[in-house]
């Protein structure tokens, strides 16, 4: 079960991209608190403090106690917007926990005993269909992860949600079907060979630059008849060079 993360925040009076960018320039991360039928609040978080918590893991599946200049909120990080190149946080969405305290949260799956699976030993591949599963649970009893043992799993077997033992008060969001979490697939044989053949087939076309470079046969569109003319022009142009 997860403990509460404590984060300090300051109010951000102005909303919008100008204020958000100013906050980033000042070493903060803009964020918003919404939900529980209250008005949304724009806040700033200290960048380093937030980044440490994000790197520690389980940031979106742990309840957070936000201290906004003395006012405390119990929230859950719903989304962390990150920089596409550096993966550093740009903005965080926090949702207030409701009165009943039950929240909808994604819990990561952990697969253990991989060495004791005969299917994986024979060259099978663990194909993870869902890296995390959405569940309903009380905010103070969020499981850190669900553990699935692969012991005795053969190729072709699949693991469904019914195989996961959930603690009391935790139930999956999808209830009407026994959905798949992972399967053990057979090894893909001949993948390397097929690619090699494709590469060989493409090589002569790429190398045959001299006479008819356009005849690489690469695009081969349906309407190639009309478009072969520009390519044919290139061949006469190559003649003076050949004379030299």
């Amino acid at each position: 079960m997860s403990e509460l993360i404590t984060l300090k925040a300051t109010a951000r009076p102005r909303a919008g991209k100008g204020a958000a960018r100013q906050a980033r320039r000042d070493g903060n991360v803009p964020a918003v608190i919404y939900g529980n039928q209250e008005t949304p609040e724009t806040i700033n978080l200290e960048y380093n403090e937030l980044w440490k918590q994000v790197l520690r893991g389980h940031f979106t599946s742990t309840a957070i106690e936000l201290d906004v200049q003395g006012t405390k909120h119990i929230v859950l990080a719903r989304d962390v917007q990150v920089d596409p190149v550096r993966d550093t946080p740009l903005h965080v969405d926090f949702q207030r926990v409701g009165k009943d305290g039950v929240i909808r949260v994604s819990i990561p799956m952990h697969f253990v005993n991989e060495t004791q699976s005969p299917g994986l030993k024979r060259g099978g591949v663990l194909n993870i269909v869902r890296h995390d599963v959405e569940v309903y649970c009380p905010y103070d009893k969020i499981p850190r992860y669900f553990e699935i043992s692969l012991e005795g799993m053969e190729i072709g077997r699949s693991i469904h949600i019914s195989a996961v033992t959930m603690p009391e008060g935790v139930s999956p969001v999808i209830k009407n079907r026994d959905f798949t979490i992972a399967t053990i697939a057979g090894a893909l044989k001949g993948e390397e060979e097929t690619t090699t053949t494709t590469a060989e087939a493409g090589a002569p076309a790429a190398d045959a630059k001299g006479a008819a470079p356009a005849a690489g046969g690469k695009a081969a569109p349906a309407a190639a008849a009309g478009k072969a003319a520009p390519a044919a022009k290139a061949a006469p142009a190559a003649k003076p060079a050949a004379k030299k």
């Binding site: 994000v54 790197l55 893991g57 389980h58 940031f59 599946s61 990150v82 920089d83 596409p84 190149v85 993966d87 990561p108 060259g123 591949v125 663990l126 194909n127 993870i128 890296h131 995390d132 992860y145 090894a187 893909l188 993948e191 390397e192 690619t195 494709t198 590469a199 493409g202 790429a206 630059k209 001299g210 008819a212 470079p213 356009a214 005849a215 690489g216 690469k218 695009a219 081969a220 569109p221 349906a222 190639a224 478009k227 520009p230 390519a231 022009k233 290139a234 142009a237 190559a238 003076p240 060079a241 030299k244």
Partner: protein, 136 residues
């Protein structure tokens, strides 16, 4: 090598690669991935070389996902040809990659082996790359 099965037009404009990637910036399938840090056109040959290097190091264990596809034809004029007389003929296929784009993903492999394999694969590419892992 990878190339489209059929295309509507044989030749395309060169274009420029501006800005950072908007989609394909997070891991979608595997546990470890290779992220581009620079904009560049990656040729089918370079992608294939990287793919082979990764597959060889992982000993073909686990699964690999390629998140880019070379769907842009690049034309070239033959050597020692005077300028003019139309656009050259299609020579190779490239994928336009923006910074932040995940190129490869690996799953079902030991994380240390996967990281080593991706570093070897990145050495086959003409851009700086970074190995990224899934944060729970």
């Amino acid at each position: 090598m990878l190339q489209p099965k059929r295309t509507k037009f044989r030749k395309q404009f060169k274009g420029r690669i501006h800005g950072a990637a908007k989609s394909g910036t997070t891991l979608a399938y595997g546990e470890v991935g290779l992220k581009a840090m620079e904009p560049e056109r990656l040729s089918a040959r370079q992608i294939e070389a990287a793919r082979r290097a990764i597959a060889r190091h992982t000993k073909r264990a686990g699964r690999m996902w390629l998140r880019i596809f070379p769907d842009v034809p690049v034309s070239k004029k033959p050597a020692e040809v005077r300028m003019g007389s139309g656009k050259g003929s299609p020579e190779l296929w490239v994928a336009r990659v923006k910074p932040g784009r995940i190129i490869f993903e690996l799953g079902g492999v030991n994380q240390q082996v996967a990281k080593e394999a991706l570093i070897l694969g990145a050495a086959k590419l003409p851009i700086k790359c970074r190995v990224v892992t899934r944060i729970e």
